[in-house]
Symmetry: C2
Subunit: 324 residues, 2 copies
Amino acid sequence: MFGFGKSKAQKGATQTQTLKIGLIGLGKIAVDQHIPSIRANKNLELVAGASPGSRPQGVVAYNTLAEMLKAHPEIEAVAVCTPPQVRLSVARQVIEAGRHVFLEKPPAATIGEAELIRDLAKAKGVSALASWHSRYAPAVEATRKWMGERPIKSVHIVWKENVRQWHPGQTWIFEAGGMGVFDPGINSLSILTRIVRDTVIVKSADLHFPSNCQAPIQVEMNMQTDNGLAIRADYDFLQTGVQTWSIFVESESGEKLVLSMGGTELEIDGKTIIKEKEAEYSGLYAHFYDLVKSGTSDVDLSPLRVVADAFMVGKRIEAPAYIE
Amino acid sequence: MFGFGKSKAQKGATQTQTLKIGLIGLGKIAVDQHIPSIRANKNLELVAGASPGSRPQGVVAYNTLAEMLKAHPEIEAVAVCTPPQVRLSVARQVIEAGRHVFLEKPPAATIGEAELIRDLAKAKGVSALASWHSRYAPAVEATRKWMGERPIKSVHIVWKENVRQWHPGQTWIFEAGGMGVFDPGINSLSILTRIVRDTVIVKSADLHFPSNCQAPIQVEMNMQTDNGLAIRADYDFLQTGVQTWSIFVESESGEKLVLSMGGTELEIDGKTIIKEKEAEYSGLYAHFYDLVKSGTSDVDLSPLRVVADAFMVGKRIEAPAYIE
């Protein structure tokens, strides 16, 4: 695996310690999170982006990955922010070009694709990150620590948001493989599989499919660990009014922890412990920089595995048609 | 990991080289395959069975696993032939009792459960086999060898059988988690993931769910490998007349291989190469004996992973109600 200043991609470029990054996919998540987070990190440099359509202000943009890499051979790593359905083919091109790869979540459309990307990166000697941004929310590690210090009785995830507000125009989300409400729900599962130390097992799931969609719009799921911990998740993509991204944890002795606002706020027995601004992508990019620097990868597929298991054992229930 | 003659379970029992086996689940597959295969293997001894209902002739049977192990502490290994929905809890009891575990296919209802069984067996130091009986069909290895010797253009699986004939009374098969036509289909996937050496990726699937069932009755699935090999599967659970369990392989240069009758017959360019009687379970039990003897495990989850991926990315299509 090559490190900084040794990359073929850098040939002829000024050798510095900054990691030169290109983006592929310049949609909402790239504009809202990736571009400002890369720019705010002194170890990183945003060189260019690629997208067939979007042209965000201030980004040198190309139509394709190949055009971007041809124009900027100094790019050492590429962040893949395309919809999951095309992530494998893009990731493969990135890896074959000898660049490190940062995968937005979910890392691919299927477990098989994600395992393949992991194996291709390993064979090529580049770093791969299957990113789960919610794990970098400020109160997640404190929650994990608290849960590790006492017997836990139950975990209840409530993840309810308005798809029309947060995913405007993202029609792929309700297509086959788009995951529907699991697209935000997998964020809660990425937190869950971090704060719970045992394997999370899906026992049953009710999957509500709109009659005109190929992905669920509401889900109620029962999970457990082999230690008997009961885990429940309620996902709703039609939530108007107050939006909820909370995880409620109760210990065997009755203590209550609430991790809310997607992991930015932590309350224990009614007392606020942490209340910070969201800053997930800065932690995520710092982690990616460390992976590249140390020549390692981080491809944990457990959140995706929980979703696949839910689809496999879940009950399908027809819901009213969804029209954006 | 303990070997023969060293098991706690064997304390006080005569120490011989035969592996003493108990069965849990005494339904069709146990009677048709497990019982005769164990009896035909001189290295194995069928001690007893457990089932809440079935009482096959000539088997000392108990209502529960616990009762069976209490009455027969000499049992060293247990073959789990229950429906997949309860396989984890049974497997956990077997492993906690310090016995080696043979899992009928699929090894569990979810990938998470199967990974947990694998981890529990490893922690306890017992052998685990996630069995895929079709891999032991007589023409599978010859097919794998042939495919490894030339560039392959396409693979087409046709697996069509009559559920009323082969699965009478097995209502669990159409319940959530019962997998429907993937129950036989996963046999073809276990062969596929043996004869194809690269990772098999699910690209799309049409899943036909009867209006009164929670598992598909027909499936058309497109898969591929990263080397560009196109793989197609057609599954049908409503096939009357001729039953088909065939895999058609075509090489880049136009040679045609047909692996048929579930892997017992092999034809290349119209010429019969292999035509043998089905003897999968004898090979499977010989493999299990070797695993226990060498203190190792074999838990390959790739066929189950393909099914989970198909459920996750597949299109749901309503089919007429199914009444047995």
